[in-house]
């Protein structure tokens, strides 16, 4: 089939180093991946196109790029699956990371984040004679998260990093979960405390971009939710995020639905006047427009049944 690759080019050494799109028309076989097509461009059409790849079999994690606006491993993406009706495909470097040249991203901010979560075992007690052993069954639940190949796709499309580079982000926090969940690691408390700081687990927006784009099924967001639950259980609940979750849960438990007026009150704590004022200005505008949640929070009919369901499930824990 004939396709048009629309590739974002950037050369820092050119006279006007601004990114621009360049079109390449070429013929590809039905089985071609986007990577095959890009390599064909580099070898047969334009040797100046820079891209990074190694294994070509979704193992090494080198070739993450944005295809039609979303991060993908291009070696795992067939041209025919992503070409539009006009047989066009748009390829850009990853988002949220600096570009070295064309489709090559600078992975330093990615690795900095991974390093920041202390991605190594911190065992305590006497050192064993040989290696630290873990029974198979205690590690099984980590098989999913350990299949991360550090490709950066999740970081590329993370909506929280997009507005705040300080956020540790999906890959690093999935790695963090891997160590909290490891029976040989004894630093759970200090880890959970660290991950609960600003820029940590509570800054995730739960947008699921990372779950969607991860080529290995790591589901980083689900790991972040796991860490949140563990952090609350470990007592690190003196922050807006944890209070929000608790208040939300309580509201449903007691009335079957969400009480939007009480939620910020409980999240900020009654004494955080500044935060409350900020929100209440918006609340005031809403009020003037006749748009406020009813002051008297109405429960759903049968709220006692919901309450009993809560008691029953919570009793199971």
């Amino acid at each position: 089939m004939d396709v048009t690759l629309n590739v974002r080019r950037f050369d820092p050494e050119s006279e006007s180093p601004e990114s621009r799109f360049q079109e390449y028309n070429l013929e590809v076989e039905d089985y071609f991946t986007v990577l095959d097509a890009l390599i064909k461009v580099r070898e047969e059409v334009d040797g100046s196109l820079a891209l990074r790849c190694s294994c070509r079999a979704s193992i090494c994690g080198s070739c993450s790029m944005r295809v039609n606006g979303h991060a993908k491993l291009v070696c795992k993406t067939k041209v025919r699956d992503v070409a539009n009706a006009q047989n066009q495909v748009t390829v850009e470097p990853m988002g949220n990371l600096p570009v070295v040249k064309d489709l090559v991203s600078d992975m330093k901010p990615f690795w900095d984040r991974v390093r920041a979560v202390k991605p190594y075992l911190q065992p305590e007690g006497e050192e064993p004679e040989a290696e630290y052993l873990a029974p198979n069954e205690t590690m099984l639940h980590l098989a999913g998260v350990m299949s991360c190949i550090m490709c950066g796709a999740c970081v590329s499309d993370c909506t929280a990093i997009e507005v705040d580079q300080r956020f540790l982000g999906p890959a690093a926090l999935a790695k963090a979960y891997r160590f909290v969940g490891d029976p040989r690691d004894d630093a759970d408390r200090s880890r959970l405390q660290m991950y609960s700081q600003p820029g940590g687990i509570w800054d995730c927006t739960r947008c699921m971009e990372c779950v969607q784009v991860c080529p290995k099924g790591v589901a980083p967001m689900d790991r972040i939710m796991g860490l949140r639950d563990m952090a609350i259980e470990a007592g690190f609940s003196n922050n807006n995020g944890a209070r929000h979750t608790e208040a939300f849960t309580d509201s449903i438990k007691h009335s079957g639905r969400l009480d939007e007026l009480k939620l910020p009150l409980r999240t900020f704590g009654v004494f955080n006047v500044q935060a409350m004022m900020g929100l209440s200005l918006v609340g005031l505008r809403a009020f003037l427009r006749g748009k406020t949640p009813p002051i008297i929070h109405k429960a759903i009919p049968g709220k006692d049944k919901v309450r009993r369901l809560f008691d029953k499930v919570e009793g199971k824990r």
Partner: protein, 294 residues
């Protein structure tokens, strides 16, 4: 076409204009609704992060009620839809998990058989009613207007739980509805991003930055308004737009409309009955251009 209507908390809480607008529009379209009064909140993913079994059990309870009514469920919120779809998938994938949940429901005399269908109004328009039929209801085509679609995370991710494999048309359903109403759909990167609402009380700066990015991008591409099937996105994109504007030291003034409101406009329904006077960002200018084109 009849549905068990799950309105969700926000359509009668923070966005009280949404519920009546949805009811009136459905009536006009001949979609019969039976409101699920006794159904609880879906948990919105927040409850699930604390206790997934609990969140899923609440939704299974709602599903069982709909099965008893013999009706598919209609939602009007991306977050309700996604949370329910995810619960549905987890139970469908794991019969033992579903049995565990049914044990909890048994106390109330309910049983979820696994057969429920849950659809957002947006999907109902495309799949059940059909866009050709929708077209026949349009009396005031929104000609000349540029509308930016804003989906809300939960109705587009993860695609595996949302039935995108069987229903690939869900991927651009909002654009197609906008075009059916006669308006032009604005293509921009923000349409599938996060509105920032979930972190509003946790990290307001980041949340409001998201509002600024998406509204300014759409505005820059000439959007006259934004349309969303999610009341939570609406709360943030509308309510916090003034803050976003002052954060970026600019004006934005982009009206954010609920999906039923735009449908109502195109069907010639009265703006006030659609609650279009209740938004923080005024829709007045937009309404006068609709009136002009009519």
């Amino acid at each position: 076409m009849k549905y068990a209507f799950f309105p969700g908390c926000v359509s009668r809480g923070g966005c009280p204009e949404l519920y009546p607008a949805a009811v009136k529009v459905c009536e006009r379209l001949g979609l019969e609704l039976e409101v699920m009064e006794g159904a609880a909140c879906t948990g919105a993913g927040v409850l699930q992060e604390k206790n997934q079994l609990l969140g899923d059990a609440l939704n299974a309870r709602t599903f069982a009620m709909a099965e008893d009514m013999g009706l598919p469920i209609m939602t009007i919120c991306s977050t309700c839809q996604g949370t329910m779809s995810q619960a549905h998938k987890r139970m469908a994938d794991d019969p033992a998990y579903m049995a565990e949940i049914n044990e909890v429901l048994a106390e109330e005399g309910l049983e979820y058989k696994g057969e429920v269908v849950v659809k957002h109004l947006l999907w109902i328009l495309v799949e059940d009613l059909g866009l050709d039929t929708l077209k026949t209801f349009i009396t005031t085509p929104l000609q000349g207007l540029r509308m930016a679609p804003f989906y809300g995370c939960y109705i587009i991710r993860p695609t595996g739980a949302l039935g995108f494999d069987e229903h690939p048309e869900r991927e651009d359903s909002l654009e197609r509805v906008i075009e059916t109403l006669g308006a032009e759909s604005v293509e921009y990167a923000g349409k599938t991003r996060c509105c920032g609402f979930p972190i509003l009380t946790i990290n307001e700066r980041n949340s409001v930055s998201m509002v600024a990015n998406h509204t300014l991008e759409a505005k820059g591409l000439g959007a006259d308004a934004m349309v969303t099937p999610c009341p939570l996105c609406h709360l943030n994109l509308d309510g916090f737009q003034p803050k976003a504007a002052s954060m970026r030291k600019t004006s934005i003034d982009l009206p954010i409309l609920h999906l039923p409101q735009v449908l109502g406009l195109a069907m010639g329904m009265d703006a006030k009955s659609m609650g279009l006077n209740k938004h923080i960002i005024s829709a007045k200018k937009l309404l006068s251009s609709v009136a002009l084109s009519a």
